[in-house]
């Protein structure tokens, strides 16, 4: 077992365990902070999938942006939310959670069944890319390639997403302004 594999299983374990904690805990603040750990572990998994630029983007945007935003929204939405959480039942398995658990569990079984059936390592295009040396190797630096592709091949989605980001910015500012008349 190589070092990369050990690291992979460690990161995967941290990601899955912290995700389960996020889903199971009653304390909302704790679940948000645990979500930090999940995102960091996922960034580690991206690094092990040889996508270092995506991992850095994940840390900057998700951890630096989205989670801080969620924390702000949580703090701003006052004491009542905290009280609601306090009065929830403390049992992990309660009868009204059962349908959700059943749904998620059955869906997991379906997904796992499909994953093991499809045998992703032996897909045609994956094998072809290994033969034609079209796969990313641990010593190849991809950031330069990403930059060039972003400005040539993927210019249209890049522009579209910049317009969409602008729209979302204006929309969020409009929605959250104070004292809207009519």
């Amino acid at each position: 077992m190589s070092l990369a594999q050990v690291l992979f299983y460690m990161m995967a374990f941290i990601a899955v365990a912290s995700t389960l904690f996020v889903a199971a805990t009653k304390n909302l603040v704790r679940s948000i902070f645990m979500f930090f750990i999940t995102l960091f572990a996922l960034a580690g998994l991206y690094v092990l999938a040889l996508a270092d630029f995506v991992a850095i983007t994940q840390i900057v945007i998700y951890v630096g942006g989205i989670l801080v935003l969620i924390l702000f929204a949580f703090m701003l939405s006052g004491k009542e939310t905290l009280n609601v959480i306090g009065t929830q039942s403390n049992k992990f398995i309660s009868i009204n959670k059962l349908p959700a658990m059943l749904l998620a569990g059955l869906f997991l079984i379906v997904l796992l069944n499909m994953i093991f059936k499809i045998d992703a390592n032996n897909l045609d295009w994956v094998k072809k890319s290994v033969i034609t040396k079209n796969m990313i190797l641990p010593d190849s630096s991809m950031t330069e390639n990403i930059g060039i592709n972003l400005m040539t091949k993927y210019l249209l989605p890049f522009e579209a997403i910049s317009v969409l980001l602008m729209i979302a910015l204006i929309g969020a500012a409009h929605l959250s302004r104070k004292g809207r008349g009519a």
Binding site: A51, V54, I61, L69, I70, L103, A104, K133, L175
Partner: protein
């Protein structure tokens, strides 16, 4: 070498936990976290398959686009949640059942 199946299994688990959170939680912010988890599972798949596309970088590129889209959705969703809280004094989606006043 880490096989693709490992990545797929991890992302399947994350996806299902996200699904569970969306269906069962009584707090809009936790539902939002569930959506983020599902998005992250999808991004993990994109990145894992993107390893086999060195010249075009399709997987990594669209993973970046998905991250940016998630940021945009979260900003708008949180603005909506704050407005709903102002109106109803609760963010339990089960208790929000009126369109107007």
């Amino acid at each position: 070498m880490i096989s693709l199946t490992d990545f797929l299994v991890v992302s399947a688990v994350l996806f299902c936990v996200g699904l569970y959170m969306i269906v069962s939680k009584q707090n809009a912010i936790q539902i939002l976290i569930g959506i983020e988890l599902m998005l992250n599972a999808a991004i993990l798949n994109l990145v894992a398959f993107g390893k086999y596309d060195r010249f075009n970088n399709g997987g990594q590129m669209f993973a970046l686009f998905a991250i940016v889209l998630a940021a945009a959705t979260t900003a708008v969703a949180l603005a909506i949640i704050l407005n709903v809280y102002k109106q109803y004094k609760t963010i339990d989606p089960g208790k929000i059942d009126k369109l107007g006043d």
